[in-house]
Amino acid sequence: MTKRNYATVNPCVMCQPMGSALAFKGIENTMILYHGSQGCSTYMRLHLAHHFREPVDIASSSLSEKGAVYGGRENLKKGLRNVINRYRPKVIGVATTCLAETIGDDVPAIIREFKEEEGIGDNPEKDIIIIPVSTPSYGESHVSGYIKSLDAIVRKFTEKPESPEKPKIPEDTEIMDYMENMEIMGYTDILEKEKARESMGNAKSPGMKKEAPYPIKTSNGKLNIIPVESVSPADVREMKEILAQTAGGYIFLPDISDTFDAPLRDHLPKIAPGGTPLSEIADMPDSRASLGLGVVSTNLAVKYLETSHGVPGHNVPIPIGLSNTDLFFMELVRILGCPIPEKYQKERGRLLDAMVDVHKYLYGVKAAVYGDPDTVFSLTTFMLELGMNPVLVTTGSKSRNFEKRIKQIFEEIRPELEPVVLDGIDFDSLKDAVKECSPEILIGNSNGRYIARALDIPLVRVGLPIHDRVGAQRILTVGYRGALELLDRITNIILEATDTFTAPVQPESEIYAGNGAENEYAEELQ
């Protein structure tokens, strides 16, 4: 392996503000502004436009040299003013870039000043809501930016007006480190803990009926769903459908199913319509429970809702694959007491059918996977269920918990396999690892295509960014239907790569070659 400790060659992550863009664009009527130099917003717009094939507008405070020396106060205020004038959003997310953080701008204070000057109050009904988030790019990765932004959004909409603004998480705590404080729990343990809590809850209020698993306060009867990593718009649509048919009422944050996949309609609106309605976000503290999607990274928003508002929080893996989707459904049943609709039982049955149909093509096929920690985790679980052999499981973000979780899931399903698990890598190190493990198939985003080409390995494109194929926003991986589609793609790529069903070679005749040769029986046949 090329040993490199200082230089990163071909990065496998994006920086924090990108995560905040993905989060804020999932809320209704929102614009996002990067406080920093203009390049940040232009480049991220380019990246997102390539992937989603949608126009993406991200404002910038265009910090110049003067701003860098004297502080970016004036630029930020001007930027906010202009964005409000032109786009008339209801919410503006202000994400800081490395430049703004390093020059030490106190963004919340500047925003407060701005609101005073412009006469913007704190009434969520009438006034514009401005949410600052601290996302310098020298922090962890776009995953942590996403998580932090969702946390800031939930806090902003749900903070009780009497209490002063709650202090944000101290900047030096790495989100991925939170797991160090928690015990490592297997899924069975998580479920046992919930059961224990359930009985405790019932014990506290014996007068409550035993039907609902959790005591409902002044509940709106809804379920909060918050992922820790960005999923595609098609994934969001699938989950919303599932929730509509099981939970009935749900609040999905952030909802990018329309903002990043807008249809071609008569108007080109300034802000893409769609996104989680603001009233619903404010309603989150009154939900029955929060379901966080993702177990490798800490879901700060779910945690906050639990600790500050008493909404019970549960975390399941992102529902990719059979067992993860099963867990998702079982959790829904446990929280809501609803039955699993027949439609999904059928889909599950079809997935089982498909898994059996293809099991021989996939058994023992060596695979390498890279991407965001929780997506990789769920994909790996799926591959293990199918009988594949993920020899190399990697993520670009640094995550202390990643290796433990991955090794754990291998223990549970295929203890005889010994994968190579790496986190915080770049593509060059990945290439070296791929050379050593020689997988037959590569699963991840488009950036790995040069490895696929150099080593002649097929690539199944999942994740962000995917810029060399179309349909990135329509890639479905969650739920039973997503598992089916993913299964088909993986299997077909392997069938093509191994040429399992070789087409015949038609014998060539000189007569067809047009050399003037004639069929000697032509006259008889006339």
Binding site: T8, S41, P55, Y87, R88, S141, P269
Partner: protein, 535 residues
């Protein structure tokens, strides 16, 4: 009467940047070449991007970005510049600064990174780009690079490209300064010849200087400002070679450290991307006495001018004849296709929004050759002289805009009734959503547009986009079947009223969405609404 306001609804501060072409001879009242307005969502990027687009095509160099991961990550292989040799430039190298480096300084990490990369890749040159953070925390890039240079015996060149220190044009300058350090002084005898030329050309901006017939030595030129996007320059070099001229290097498309170092041996510089490379051309003229001419290799007229002026410069009758022969043969070869395309798209209207003015100008001519007229023209980084030239070349009524943003472009496309837009990927989807055809002329493209074959490709792409049947389908945006019973109200297309007769779904989200429609200020403020395009 100069119509300054009201061309398109936009911020007060942006009005001076948009104007309409009036009668000839009038002073063009367009503000330009300033810093972008905060919050206006300019399409410009930063200084680093300017430096990166100019330097990235140097194929065998290691381009190391000293900064956090984002800058290197988003610029990884987005240039589309092709290489005939190694593709070291298509990897993205970064020092991936983390919080600890910001606090304690990143110089040590940088010098270690350079050592690592020099050892693994053994490149002939390393460019070290600085980013915003480096400018603030004060890492001494020059010192680190100097030490590394001595240690590894290769040029390690710092590029002062902190994102906030100016705008994209400053990035171009920083890149040119870096290139300067690679160009080596040629041997003595050629310098003497150059000093003759220098004494003849008194004014620094003289574009033309005749010299006596050259000796047996082959005439040499450089092409400045061609980045070989999609293989452009490979369609241009053969034309010169047929004329008997050697092209030493094109800056920076398909260039290597070695070929750049020989650039000073040229007799003439042809500058294509004037925005980025005029600075370097002027320096080469001062330093080495090499004159320069601004040319373009796009479109039949401009290529003809380029070849003829080059032949004229060298003053060789033989070369002029060869040039005429080439022009005639090539023009005849591509004329049938161009004529066919012209028949099918003539009269259509084009909108141009490019990064630099050189391409914008040459596109006006190119469209004229295809029979299309230009109704909107704008650039990100044009200067006053460039806009004057543009204004001279377009027809009355054309809107000229500097440093536009998406809302302005969307409004203009509709108001000016453009049929086709030529720009980059950030503008592509605005055009598509409005039903306007698009031609990608930016760094993303995969098809050559320069030279004669390139012009045919351009014509074909314009034809393919404008004449595609998808736009017919797009004309009817919403499906409105005839109601079966007369009492159900007919829905107006595009209006999402609450009386829509669709199945009421249980999905609370979609209900909320419909409920929002009556509050237009959240979706699009009244007069600002972009109206459906009539395409």
């Amino acid at each position: 009467m100069i119509e300054k306001t009201g061309i398109v609804d936009t911020l007060e501060e942006r009005q001076p940047y948009i104007t309409r072409k009036q009668e000839k001879g009038q002073e063009i009242p367009l503000a330009c070449d300033n810093n972008s307005l905060a919050g206006a969502i300019s399409q410009r990027a930063c200084v680093y991007s300017g430096a990166r687009v100019v330097l990235n095509p140097v194929t065998d160099a290691v381009h190391l970005v000293h900064g956090p991961i984002g800058c290197a990550g988003y610029t990884w292989d987005i240039r589309g510049a092709k290489s005939s040799g190694v593709e070291t430039n298509r990897s993205s190298f970064s020092t991936d600064m983390k919080e600890i480096d910001v606090v304690f300084g990143g110089e040590k990490k940088l010098s270690n990174a350079i050592d690592e990369l020099a050892g693994i890749y053994r490149p002939p040159v390393i460019f070290v780009y600085s980013t915003c953070i480096v400018g603030i925390i004060g890492d001494d890039l020059e010192a680190v690079c100097k030490t590394a240079s001595k240690k590894h015996n290769i040029p390690v060149i710092p590029v002062k490209s902190e994102g906030f220190k100016g705008n994209k044009s400053d990035g171009y300058k920083a890149a040119c300064n870096a290139l300067k350090q690679l160009i080596k002084r040629p041997e003595k005898k050629t310098v003497e010849k150059k000093s003759e030329i220098r004494s003849e050309s008194k004014k620094p901006d003289i574009k033309h200087s005749k010299i006596e017939k050259m000796e047996i030595k082959k005439p040499k030129i450089n092409i400045l400002g061609d980045f070989n996007v999609a293989g452009d320059v490979w369609l241009v070099k053969p034309l010169f070679e047929k004329m008997g001229i050697e092209v030493i290097v094109s800056m920076t498309g398909d260039s290597t450290a070695e070929s750049i170092s020989r650039a000073a041996e040229a007799d003439l510089n042809l500058v294509q991307c004037s925005g980025s490379m005029t600075y370097l051309a002027k320096w080469m003229q001062q330093e080495y006495g090499i004159p320069y001419q601004t040319v373009s290799f796009f479109g039949i007229e401009d290529i003809s001018i380029a070849l003829r002026e080059t032949a004229e410069y060298f003053g060789s009758e033989e070369m002029k004849k060869k040039a005429e022969k080439i022009l005639e043969a090539e023009t005849n070869r591509i004329m049938p296709e161009i004529s066919r395309v012209r028949e099918s798209i003539k009269g259509k209207k084009a909108a141009i929004y490019m990064g630099g003015p050189a391409k914008a100008l040459t596109l006006i001519k190119g469209f004229a050759e295809l029979g299309m007229e230009v109704v909107i023209i704008g650039t990100q980084t044009g200067k006053k002289e460039d806009y004057e030239q543009i204004s001279y070349s377009v027809r009355d009524g054309t809107v000229i805009v500097d440093d536009a943003n998406p809302l302005e472009l969307a409004d203009l496309l509709v108001k000016q009734k453009a049929d086709l837009m030529v720009a980059g990927v950030k503008e592509r989807f605005i055009a598509y959503k409005l039903g306007v055809a698009f031609c990608d002329f930016n760094h993303d493209r995969v098809v050559e547009f320069e030279g004669f074959d390139g012009f045919v490709n351009f014509a074909k792409e314009v034809d393919a986009s404008i004449n595609s049947p998808v736009w017919k389908a797009v004309r009817q945006r919403t499906l409105n079947p005839e109601p079966l019973e007369p009492k159900k109200t007919m829905v107006e297309s595009g209006q999402e009223k609450a009386t829509i007769k669709e199945e009421v779904s249980e999905k609370p989200y979609s209900k909320k969405c419909k409920g929002l429609a009556p509050k237009p200020e959240f979706l699009h403020s009244g007069q600002d609404a972009v109206v459906e395009s009539e395409v």
